[in-house]
């Protein structure tokens, strides 16, 4: 039944392609040479130019995938993800704000603060309707719609802040806002790997709660989950995972939205734990491939990675929305 190995195989294939292909392509021998610590031009391309970039793509994609998977399980809604609900845009706004006033605080911290504040704002505005089960909190669709609104607001303010920036700062901000893995070095990889490892360790003991929450808040309480605390903990973990990815690569859209359902389908897994793993692997594959296409498809031109994920993700989002409307969910 379980086909996680298929995803792992796809991940390895995507990583090899990403390391080998680009403006200058290296052959299998040079790729192997580079991976095993050899030297020569091809090996150096692999080790210095592409290595950190591919590793960053892997970590960023995995973080987005996990974040989306947590939100979709938590809200039991395929529209739920940090990008659609505006949390990534909130992280992005915080980073642009910090750039504008020259705040010297590490990016991941600023992005986390922005993401968490946005999440708090969305949850505070999405009040449950009267007569709604008090244990359940606001319905997922309400949270998603409020999040979309807040996300647009954050994006609009970000655009305004962009006009205040000048010179190289403006170019850097512009590239980052569209999502970019260019010029990432091993220090970024290390940073993200550390944060990611901590968040995964924080997530692991919460998987049990996520599994119970799937049964509805009443049964989850009956089976021993402290529903409110469990939801808060999981939502915070998911926001921070997305914020870490946004801080390094920008608010790349749609990866967190698409990776969980795609991963679950490929891995054919229904359990929460399996779906989390599948979403992380699929997220990594999507970001690596999107980055590969973005930098290698048009000679002499680097497209922002967000453009690539948007080409795939936007139609998917539209399809989801129309399906939800058909089902009377929206």
């Amino acid at each position: 039944m379980n086909r996680q190995f298929l995803l792992i195989f796809l991940l390895l294939a995507a990583a090899s392609l990403s390391l080998a292909l680009g403006q200058v392509s290296v052959g299998p021998a040079a790729l192997w040479n580079g991976l095993t610590g050899g030297d020569g031009a091809g090996a150096l391309t692999v080790q210095i130019l592409r290595g950190p970039r591919v590793a960053t793509a892997l970590l960023v994609g995995a973080a987005f995938g996990l974040s989306g998977s947590i939100f979709q399980s938590l809200l039991r809604n395929p529209l739920a993800s940090p990008d659609v609900m505006g949390f990534s845009a909130g992280s992005g706004l915080a980073i642009l704000g910090a750039l504008t006033i020259n705040l010297a605080i590490p990016m991941p911290l600023i992005a986390s603060a922005g993401g968490l504040l946005t999440a708090i704002l969305v949850l505070a505005l999405a009040r449950p309707a009267r007569g709604h089960n008090p244990l359940e909190g606001a319905p997922a669709v309400t949270i998603v719609l409020v999040g979309i609104g807040i996300g647009f607001t954050a994006a609009a303010i970000s655009s305004f802040l962009m006009t205040r920036l000048t010179g190289p700062q403006a170019a850097e901000a512009q590239r980052w806002l569209a999502g970019s893995l260019a010029a990432r070095d091993w220090s970024h990889v290390l940073q993200l790997a550390l944060i990611g490892a901590v968040l995964v360790i924080v997530l692991l003991p919460q998987i049990r709660n996520l599994r119970l929450l799937e049964l509805g808040s009443e049964l989850a309480t009956g089976l021993g989950a402290n529903v409110k605390r469990a939801r808060l903990g999981l939502a915070a973990t998911a926001v921070l995972l997305a914020a870490a990815a946004v801080a390094i690569a920008g608010p790349i859209a749609f990866v967190a939205l698409m990776a969980p359902p795609l991963g679950a389908r490929i891995a054919r897994t229904a359990d929460v734990g399996g779906r989390l793993l599948a979403a992380a692997l699929t997220g990594a594959i999507i970001v690596m491939l999107a980055d590969l296409v973005a930098r290698a498809s048009l000679p002499g031109l680097q497209l922002p990675i967000g453009v690539m994920t948007g080409i795939l993700g936007a139609p998917y989002l539209l399809w989801l929305l129309s399906r939800e409307i058909e089902r009377g969910e929206l």
């Binding site: 039991r76 009267r130 007569g131 008090p134 244990l135 003991p205 049990r208 599994r211 119970l212 799937e214 049964l215 509805g216 808040s217 009443e218 049964l219 309480t221 009956g222 089976l223 021993g224 989950a225 402290n226 229904a270 359990d271």
Partner: protein, 259 residues
């Protein structure tokens, strides 16, 4: 299994500004089966939610033994008291066996491996509901009656001395209703489990339960054994129903004949 009793003390409970039950003091006899009866919207589910710590009282308390359940750790309670809500949510694609396994959560550590006891208890729960051949079947492919029994197996696997169920027989045809009620009766008689269920059928409730809590539009009408609770005057008060009550020819339990 030693029987611990669940009782309320001056319980007031409702939603936001809307109070549903006021000043309710009742006990649910330990080791017995209790049915909560009353007209639609009178607060049966609300009462069950308060008893299962799903809804915090605005006033008064709910005690399990000597402990106030709203001050007890929810995980500790989950080993004492299982609740099956009226509309539980089925995770997409879940298999019956996986569903039942989740009933073991209260007894398992965070990362503890699956034990032989856990497997055995899940197996027994599936056998108790007559679903032993269905472990590998997706829940969504079952009939309404089978699905209801799968949910019952989940709370049976929880292996608690108290079992609260909200309308476990609704949407089932008569034979399936009786099947579920028998199953609960067996659990009560054989394992000494205290069973509390919200039911709609007055005759079945009287037939399969030791104790009845009868609610009306203005709160508690009366409580006690079926014979003293299911009477024409009480039915009039609770349901505004004119009826005769005769004793049924098979078990001598009260049987309602509407006029």
């Amino acid at each position: 299994m030693s029987a611990i009793s669940l009782r309320t003390e001056s319980l007031c409970v409702g939603y936001r500004d809307r109070s549903v039950l006021e000043n309710l003091t009742i006990g649910l006899p330990a080791g017995q089966s209790t049915a909560i009866l009353g007209p639609n919207g009178c607060g049966k589910s609300t009462l069950l939610s308060a008893l299962a710590r799903l809804l915090a009282p605005s006033h008064g308390r709910v005690f399990l033994g000597d402990a106030d359940i709203h001050k007890t750790k929810t995980r500790l309670l989950s080993r004492q008291l299982a609740i099956l809500p009226q509309f539980p949510i089925a995770p997409e694609g879940i298999l019956v066996g996986e569903l039942v396994k989740r009933g073991r959560t209260p007894w398992r550590g965070l990362f503890s491996p699956w034990s032989a006891t856990d497997t055995e208890i899940c197996q027994k729960a599936l056998i108790a509901v007559g679903m032993e051949g269905f472990a590998e079947r997706p829940l969504s492919e079952l009939s309404g009656g089978q699905r209801q029994r799968a949910w019952l197996a989940l709370v049976l696997a929880q292996d608690t001395p108290l079992l609260l169920l909200d309308e476990p027989t609704s949407f089932l045809d008569l034979p399936h209703q009786i099947e579920v009620l028998r199953l609960l009766q067996n659990r009560n008689k054989n394992a000494g489990t205290t069973v509390v269920s919200v039911l709609h059928d007055l005759n079945l409730a009287g037939r399969f339960n030791d104790h009845i809590v009868l609610l009306g539009p203005d709160g508690l009408v009366t409580k006690g054994p079926p014979e003293t609770v299911i009477t024409p005057s009480n039915l009039k008060k609770a349901f505004d129903l004119d009826a005769r009550v005769i004793s049924d020819p098979v078990t001598n339990r009260p049987m309602v004949v509407p006029l």
